[in-house]
């Protein structure tokens, strides 16, 4: 498909970041699957949620290239997740604080 050494070198230069990103996501998934399958300690769900959050941040910043976007797009993407944060925080504060 990409015959010459020059082409392969150019391809790798451009694919290096996506390949490393996919590898990082697979490692984080393996951690979550391992934790979910073995349940090694109480409150393991906290670690699972942190790992899932790290995976989402990786996709946003690297795969969706938010870190290279102009400030307005960064603001938009950030505000969207901030709204979701408010939704979750205000709702869960109610349920978690019930006696």
């Amino acid at each position: 498909m990409f015959g010459t050494p020059d082409e392969r070198r150019i391809l790798w230069r451009h694919m290096r970041e996506p390949v490393l990103t996919a590898c990082a996501l697979l490692v984080m998934l393996a951690v979550n699957v391992g934790l979910g399958a073995t349940l090694p300690f109480p409150h393991v769900w906290i670690v699972e949620l942190v790992v899932a959050g790290a995976m989402v941040a990786t996709i946003l910043l690297v795969s969706m290239e938010v870190r290279h976007e102009p400030p307005l797009v960064k603001l938009f993407a950030g505000i969207g997740f901030f709204w979701v944060g408010i939704l979750f925080a205000m709702t869960l504060v109610d349920y978690l604080s019930r006696g």
Binding site: L11, V56, I59, M64, E69, A77
Partner: protein, 220 residues
């Protein structure tokens, strides 16, 4: 140059209501993000409901979640991460003007999306055989003694069904775009369509990355 990497000119055709190509490209990205955020809020409501059900009815939700196919869900996550990689490949090659390679990456992305749907379909089929579809009136529900579990299982079908609908839409658009992108001159006029669609595809991946722990992992 080999066939896969033959370079074609890359660019975006300026439409009349924009002053510059750069302005047009940025407006397209911003518009896509505006839409993706409405989608995020839609799925966030479903995931929040799943967490509340877990808090209110922990035993019932855990009992229902034991019937979910954990390993198929994990495999499907791997498949979608792979499809994000091939979509990123298509975007990178579109920037280089390597049209044929880009088209191959797009086809690989659609194929991985199709594989996800096949695995999901098998999961639903297994659920059907295990009587885990409480919304079917002619088929007794396996956990009929646990009414709250119905809420979780129904929510599971709504969330995964909605995600599947997004994936079917994405595959359809991707295949249509692949056909367009394989024609001469596409990259010189519409390169940014690949980038914009890539945002949507990565977002489908992101939603599943959240759905898998919320539905499958946390409730074990």
């Amino acid at each position: 140059m080999s066939a896969g990497a033959a370079e074609t000119p890359v660019g975006v055709k300026l439409v009349s209501h924009f002053a510059t190509v750069e302005q047009q490209k940025r407006a397209a990205v911003l518009g896509m993000w505006a839409w993706l955020l409405t989608e995020l809020l839609l799925f966030a409501g479903l995931f929040l409901t799943a967490l509340i059900l877990r808090l209110l009815h922990p035993e019932a939700v855990q009992e229902a979640a034991r019937h979910l196919k954990f390993w198929i869900g994990a495999t499907n996550t791997v498949v979608l991460i792979g499809s994000s990689l091939t979509m990123s490949g298509a975007i990178q090659l579109s920037r280089l003007g390597w049209q044929r390679g880009m088209v191959r990456f797009m086809l690989a992305t659609a194929a991985l999306g199709g594989l996800f749907l096949v695995l999901k379909g098998y999961e639903y089929y297994a659920d059907y055989h295990e009587h885990m579809m409480p919304f079917l009136s002619d088929r007794p529900y396996e956990l009929k003694d646990s009414p709250p579990s119905r809420l979780f299982v129904n929510l599971y079908y709504v969330a995964t069904g909605l995600h599947g609908l997004h994936l079917i839409t994405g595959i359809s658009i991707l295949l249509a775009m692949t056909w367009q992108a394989s024609r001469p001159g596409f990259l010189s006029r519409h390169q940014n369509r690949i980038e914009i669609f890539g945002l949507y595809w990565h977002f489908i991946d992101l939603i599943w990355i959240l759905a898998f722990p919320v539905l499958y992992v946390l409730n074990r």
